[in-house]
Symmetry: C2
Subunit: 195 residues, 2 copies
């Protein structure tokens, strides 16, 4: 079953570009141009991994999480997708759940928000995103799901940069994490996977 995800690793090796020691550009299939057929395989694999779980909502964050969340939702009985919106403005709307996220790459603190109408204590939430790096965005989504009183089924990630601490950060929250491709290092322009 997991063997199928070789296709994802092949995409990463064939099309990914390493910049410096930290950045993996995969915008030919993941987050600028989107390979919808690959996303279907990813969605099926997320379903395989969380097959025993009841999922009532897929939670992600704009912008690049939206595509993978929508395709994935199809394999979870068309569970509604909710994407958190990003704001740099300070004005607080009292009808939203809000969390602060620090972006290392941009060195800014931004807010992410979800309208209270779209997440509540009856929900079983699967958090989906394209990348896991330091884990701050996922922490924000977990915070929002908890503010809503929702059950958290787990976190489903396409590509994890395992050398940036996000995995430990998520696991320290006692949340199940499934990453389809785990990257051990990008040193010297070479992509090395965990295992």
């Amino acid at each position: 079953m997991r063997f199928k995800m070789q296709v994802l690793k092949q995409h990463i090796c064939n099309s990914g570009r390493v910049i410096g020691k930290d950045i993996l550009k995969v915008d030919s299939f993941l987050n600028h141009q989107i390979d919808v057929g690959l996303f279907q395989e990813i969605g099926k694999e997320f379903k395989n991994r969380f097959a025993k779980e009841k999922v009532t909502k897929i939670l992600t964050i704009e912008a690049s999480g939206i595509g993978i969340a929508c395709i994935t939702a199809q394999y979870f009985n068309n569970a509604p997708v909710v994407f958190a919106k990003k704001f740099t403005a300070k004005n607080l709307n009292s009808s939203v759940y809000e969390s602060k996220v620090y972006s290392f790459t941009k060195d800014i603190l931004y807010s992410i928000r979800v309208d209270k109408n779209y997440l509540d204590s009856g929900d079983n939430v699967l958090i989906v995103d394209d990348f896991l790096a330091n884990g701050n965005a996922v922490l924000g989504l977990l915070d929002i799901a908890r503010q809503a009183g929702a059950q958290i089924v787990g976190v489903a990630i396409v590509i994890e940069k395992s050398f940036q601490g996000g995995r430990e950060t998520v696991l320290s929250q006692n949340v199940r994490l499934e990453s389809l491709a785990r990257i051990k290092s990008l040193d010297k322009g070479k992509i090395t996977f965990v295992d």
Copy 2:
């Protein structure tokens, strides 16, 4: 065939909220929470309307166009989706197509950009977006597709606010436009459709 789109109008009437004379909030199913089953019906209808066309690429703009573009692509033989990215910064990257878009609602001029690797003169492009208001975002996408030398198959919109001029703007470009729900007015809090 078009009768099915009654389901979209029902969603708009049942869940849409009118704010002032111009704003229709449909974030319960279109652009914050996403009704994936409805998106599938929308994607099928876009396919019906452009059934005779060869589409090699679906072009949209972040963030709220991404979900509808990804689901729609499945009905066009999994054509790759490309979403234009928005920037307020001025730095120009020479390897991108870039167009300027004026946002009436935010009163700012922003750039939208597409990497030149993901659009070229061999492409037949269907432009997809959730909303058509004044048409400026679609004009920017048309500009980018033309810079790439691509053929433009048409523009596929979920909800058109027909009183804001975007329809005329798009048609003046000699481009085919298909909007699934056309709103004539939002006066006095009432949603009135064209026809």
